[in-house]
């Protein structure tokens, strides 16, 4: 170690030195390691091992040993090995074969010299040692054998080591004797080879060492057939030990396991063995040598040598690779309980029940099965549930369909099909409910009798009774007031319902379901469904269903009733309409016909000449029909008809009565059309058409007659008034003559007073006209003429009459006073006929007054407005009045109190007044005279009096 300033460098040097030293040390020490490594590296080159095995492949013990060896050899990954395996198969092929083998091997492995040979079995070792000089002389050999005799040092030489496996005969025997204590004999079966004999000897020795009482039976080296005989005839209390038979006494080669199987099948005694591979082929068990274990141990030894140990340095070992194992089936066969086995004993070949073998599979299968079963059960259950639900839904659906059907049928039921459809529905419902009878009972009268309105019953059964009294069913009747009654068995009825029960039984019903039909709280009927064949419970939910159905039926019944009522009232209406003489049409507000008499008496013409051009039927517009007629200009009466109908429809007028004349019909035709407002919110009108042709003709005839008679009367009256007439005419005539003559005188006189002449002439003209008027009036009065309507002022008429009769009145010294009402409303009538009436009355009055004393002669004529809106003409005289007997007869024709005259005047006057729509009557005045009153309707603006 250097000190000083160079310490740093020295230290570095030191470090470097140490380093290099350690490196050297490492290398030195590690060299072998490295060498080893290098050796190992170089020994990475694969080594080859040859397994030379006695026997043949396929023998279980051979295969087990080989497998054990291989597994160990290959487990060491640090050595890469190539393994060759050769089977000597010396038993099947003769010694000549064996002789030629070495050459053949040498040739074969010329290029593949084995680095180590494992000899399995004594014969393999023997072969190797014999041919060692020229076959693989220096290759280490590791053997496994069971034969001690091979331990000849001379033969062994160098590089040979191995393991001697001994059979654990002693322990096996002891085990066997423990298991079968009353054993007396031990038989030994084995092959015929020298090795077999050697093995036998060893065995005998062991047996001898044991209990003396055992007899040893030597069956080795016998031919198979003899062996077979022996095993079948072995006495009791004998156990057999089996040594592998490769060759039997007859020289036959066997697979030891097959030989064992054959013998064990026939053996009467249990066979113990010493070799593990045979367990399961008939051995009961024991301490068995495991060939696999042997192979393993040998391979371990081989590995040691391969790793570098010298074979010579390893002493030959002894080992017993044996296990205590028993065959379960044999245990069962020889009835040995497992618990008697030594602890640690393995029991092989347990008859693994299918359960043991396939436990998991079985479990799995079972589980699957269980799952499947539960699934199936679940599904089945579910399906049942579903089926039940489906069934119940199905049933519900069927019921709902039934209800819908019944409801649809019954809600659109025309009355004509009631019976049929009700019965149909009853049948469907009864069948659905599985009842034998279904009926609909209706209440009749107030007394509580019920009659069958509709019913259905199954074929072959009795129909239900036609009617029953509610007294027979007190309990049920009470129950019905509360709702649906369901009786599954008659015994369900309470004790108090004895009467009910008896009656029901009498009618043959065993189960009943009744549903009341109620409308607006009143029970109008009962639905009854009955089972007569058997008593059985009605389905659940029946009550509700019956209620639903009952409602439908009740509604249908109520509707039918109301329809029937409507129809009856309709029929009544139609019958009434048909019975009327008039043809009646009912219009709505727009004029459309909504009802009409069945057959119109009105003739409907094709050429537009009839009153109605088209047939009036419901739906046509009546107003339009009339408008058509009005526009066709056939008859002017149509226009006011249209107006009148319109007025009534528009509610401006409640009633309009018109007469309509159809001139184109031959002979003429008259209708009285009366339009009356319909008193209802929707408005409308009723129009009645009455054919009044006959009446009209009669009227016309009567009028014509009247006209004639009136004319006659006028003529007669004129006759009576000749004085007046003459007077009336003579006056103007006289004036004319005087004026004319005066004018002549003026003209021819000394003073031509032309003005006077002019006056004369003017007056002449006036008087002439006056005279002309009188003549004209006279002519008018005497004319036959027909009724001519015009607006007439009664005051004027009376004045005319009074003027006419004035002279006459003067003659008779009757003072005539006229008190007209100024502004009197005019009347509509024939002027001449009204003049005639006034004339008649005034002339009569004059005549009556003239009979009185001179100072008591007066006539009072008055006009006034009457209370009822018309005008009244009053003629009061100062005569002696009319007697009580005569008063009613005064207006009779040909009634007169005068000596002369027809007596027609008053009757004609009355006819005329009545024809004018007025009244003419007589009474006595307070003063004793007669008063004649004539009332006439005032001409109303707009009122239509159309008369032909």
């Amino acid at each position: 170690m250097s000190v000083g300033g160079e310490g740093e460098a020295a230290r570095l040097h030191h470090s470097a030195f140490c380093l290099s030293l350690s490196t050297a040390r490492f290398f030195l020490l590690g060299l072998p390691g490295l060498l080893c490594v290098s050796v190992c590296a170089t020994s990475r080159a694969p080594k080859s091992v040859l397994l030379l095995v006695a026997g043949q492949m396929g023998i279980p013990e051979v295969d087990a040993a080989v497998a054990g060896a291989r597994s160990i050899l290959q487990s060491d990954t640090s050595i890469s090995l190539t393994i060759y395996t050769e089977y000597l198969d010396e038993d099947r092929f003769g010694p000549d074969y064996l002789k030629s083998l070495p050459d053949w091997y040498r040739e074969k492995y010329e290029e593949h010299k084995p680095d180590l040979i494992i000899a399995g079995g004594a014969s393999a070792l023997d072969f190797l040692l014999r041919s060692r000089h020229n076959l693989w002389p220096n290759v280490p050999v590791v053997f496994s054998a069971a034969d001690e005799r091979i331990l000849r040092p001379a033969l062994l030489g160098k590089q040979v080591t191995g393991i001697l496996f001994g059979r654990d005969i002693k322990r096996s025997l002891e085990q066997a004797l423990r298991l079968l204590p009353d054993t007396e004999r031990v038989a030994l079966i084995g092959g015929a080879t020298p090795e077999d004999r050697f093995g036998r000897d060893i065995f005998r020795r062991e047996v001898g060492r044991l209990v003396n009482r055992l007899t040893f039976l030597d069956l080795t080296g016998l031919p198979m057939d003899a062996l077979k005989n022996w095993v079948t005839s072995l006495p009791k209390r004998t156990i057999v030990f089996y040594l592998p038979i490769y060759v039997d006494g007859a020289g036959q080669v066997f697979l030891p396991s097959e030989a064992l199987s054959t013998l064990a099948a026939q053996s009467k005694c249990p066979i113990f063995g010493l070799d593990e591979p045979f367990l399961g082929r008939g051995l009961l068990g024991g301490w068995l040598a495991s060939y696999q274990e042997m192979g393993r141990q040998v391979a371990l030894l081989a590995l040691r040598i391969l790793r570098g140990e010298s074979a010579s340095a390893i002493p030959i070992q002894r080992s017993a690779a044996s296990v205590l194992a028993f065959d379960w089936q044999q245990l069962q066969k020889w009835d040995i309980d497992e618990s008697r086995l030594d602890p640690g004993a393995m029991v092989r070949n347990r008859e693994i029940s299918t359960w043991d073998q396939q436990r998991w599979l079985i479990l799995a299968v079972l589980t699957v099965c269980v799952i499947q079963t539960s699934l199936i059960t679940g599904l089945l259950y579910h399906r049942r549930q579903r089926k039940r639900v489906t069934e119940s839904l199905d049933e519900r659906l069927r019921f709902e369909t039934l209800v819908a059907d019944v409801s649809a049928i019954l809600s659109n039921l025309p009355i004509s099909e009631i019976d049929h459809q009700f019965r149909d529905c009853l049948e469907r419902i009864a069948r659905f409910l599985q009842a034998d009878r279904g009926s609909l009972w209706r209440r009749t009268g107030d007394k509580g009798n019920w009659t069958v309105a509709h019913s259905w019953w199954a074929e072959g059964l009795n129909p239900p009774p036609l009617s029953i009294s509610a007294d027979n069913f007190p309990a049920i009747g009470e129950a019905l007031k509360r709702g649906v009654v369901v009786i599954s068995k008659l015994d369900e009825l309470s004790v108090e319902a004895n009467l009910d029960r008896e009656v029901i039984r009498r009618f043959g019903a065993r189960s009943l379901a009744l549903a009341p039909l109620a409308v607006a709280g009143k029970i109008i009927g009962v639905l009854v469904f009955v089972r007569t064949h058997r008593e059985c419970a009605w389905p659940a939910g029946l009550v509700q269903r019956l209620q639903t159905l009952a409602e439908i039926f009740a509604n249908a019944m109520a509707r039918c009733e109301s329809e029937r009522a409507v129809r009856q009232s309709e029929e009544l209406n139609s019958a009434v309409l048909a019975s009327l003489e008039e043809y009646v049409t009912v219009l709505d507000r727009e004029g459309v016909i909504i009802r009409t008499s069945p057959k119109p008496p009105i003739r409907v013409s094709d050429n537009g000449s009839g009153p109605l051009i088209q047939m009036p039927v419901v739906g046509r517009n009546y107003l339009k029909l009339w408008r058509l007629v009005a526009t066709s200009d056939v008859n002017s009466d149509a226009v006011p008809m249209v107006e009148a109908i319109k007025r009534v429809l528009q509610e401006r007028q409640p009633v309009a009565v018109m007469e309509y004349h159809d001139p184109l019909v031959p002979g003429g035709r008259w209708l009285e059309v009366r339009v009356q407002r319909l008193d209802r919110p929707e408005g409308g009108a009723v129009i009645t058409h009455l054919d009044i042709t006959n009446r009209k003709r009669a009227e016309i005839e009567a009028r014509r007659n009247l006209d004639e008679i009136a004319h006659m009367n006028r003529v007669a009256a004129m006759g009576e008034l000749t004085a007046s007439l003459a007077h009336e005419i003579n006056q103007p005539l006289a004036a004319i003559l005087s004026n004319a003559q005066a004018a002549c005188r003026f003209l021819s006189g000394k003073s031509s007073d032309l003005a006077e002449v002019g006056d004369c002439l003017n007056d002449i003209i006036t008087d002439d006209k006056r005279a002309g008027e009188v003549i004209k009036r006279l002519r008018e009065l005497l004319k036959k003429g027909e009724f001519q309507a015009s607006v007439v002022d009664l005051n004027e008429v009376v004045r005319d009459v009074i003027r006419l009769v004035g002279h006459d009145a003067l003659l008779r010294k009757v003072s005539v006073v006229f008190e007209p009402l100024p502004g009197l409303s005019p009347v509509i009538g024939d002027r001449i006929q009204l003049y005639q009436v006034a004339l008649n009355l005034i002339v009569n009055g004059l005549a009556a007054a003239a009979e009185q004393a001179q100072r008591d002669r007066w006539l009072l004529v008055r006009t006034a407005e009457s209370n009822s809106g018309g005008v009244e003409l009053t003629v009061e005289d100062s005569g002696k009045g009319i007697t009580k007997e005569d008063l009613p007869r005064v207006f009779e024709p040909f009634f007169t109190t005068k000596q002369e005259g027809l007596g027609m005047g008053l009757s004609i006057s009355r006819s005329i007044v009545q024809a004018h729509g007025g009244r003419l009557w007589a009474e006595n005045s307070a003063g004793g005279g007669a008063i004649f009153r004539c009332a006439l309707p005032v001409a109303r603006r707009g009122a239509m009096v159309s008369v032909p």
């Binding site: 000749t722 004085a723 003459a726 007077h727 003579n730 006056q731 103007p732 005539l733 006289a734 004036a735 004319i736 003559l737 005087s738 004026n739 003559q741 005066a742 004018a743 002549c744 005188r745 003026f746 006189g749 006077e756 006056d759 004369c760 007056d763 006036t766 008087d767 006056r770 002279h807 003067l810 003659l811 010294k813």
Partner: protein, 132 residues
């Protein structure tokens, strides 16, 4: 006092046109005439007018012609009268005989009328002063 008694003819006629025509006729024949529409009217004017002759319509409103004559007779007024009538019937016979008057039926000719008037007047004494 002596007054010139003009020959005044009174006409009592209720029909106006006849009345007027008679007035004209009388005037055209040169006679003075005065017309009255009714008997009552005439009576009122009698004192004033004092006609020498009356043309009297038998049928008058109110008092008739015959009644007027009777009244005059009762009051001792005698005036000659000529009756006229439009009526077909004649005046009551008794009256005619009593008064001695003629009755003319309308329409009558002027000649008939004037002759009747003259005859009626001529029968009277000329100076019928009466109680002046």
């Amino acid at each position: 006092m002596p007054s010139i008694v003009r020959r005044l003819v009174g006409v009592v006629e209720d029909d106006e046109s006849v009345r007027q025509s008679l007035l004209r006729l009388l005037r055209s024949s040169g006679r003075a005439a005065m017309a009255y529409a009714s008997a009552e009217e005439f009576l009122l004017c009698l004192q004033r007018d004092k006609p020498c002759c009356l043309v009297l319509d038998i049928h008058l409103r109110g008092m008739s012609g015959v009644d007027l004559l009777e009244k005059l007779a009762r009051e001792n007024v005698s005036i000659p009268v000529v009756f006229i009538t439009a009526n077909g019937e004649e005046a009551p016979e008794g009256v005619l005989r009593q008064s001695g008057a003629t009755c003319l039926r309308k329409p009558f000719d002027e000649t008939s009328l004037i002759q009747a008037i003259d005859a009626a007047i001529g029968e009277l004494p000329a100076a019928s002063a009466g109680p002046a």
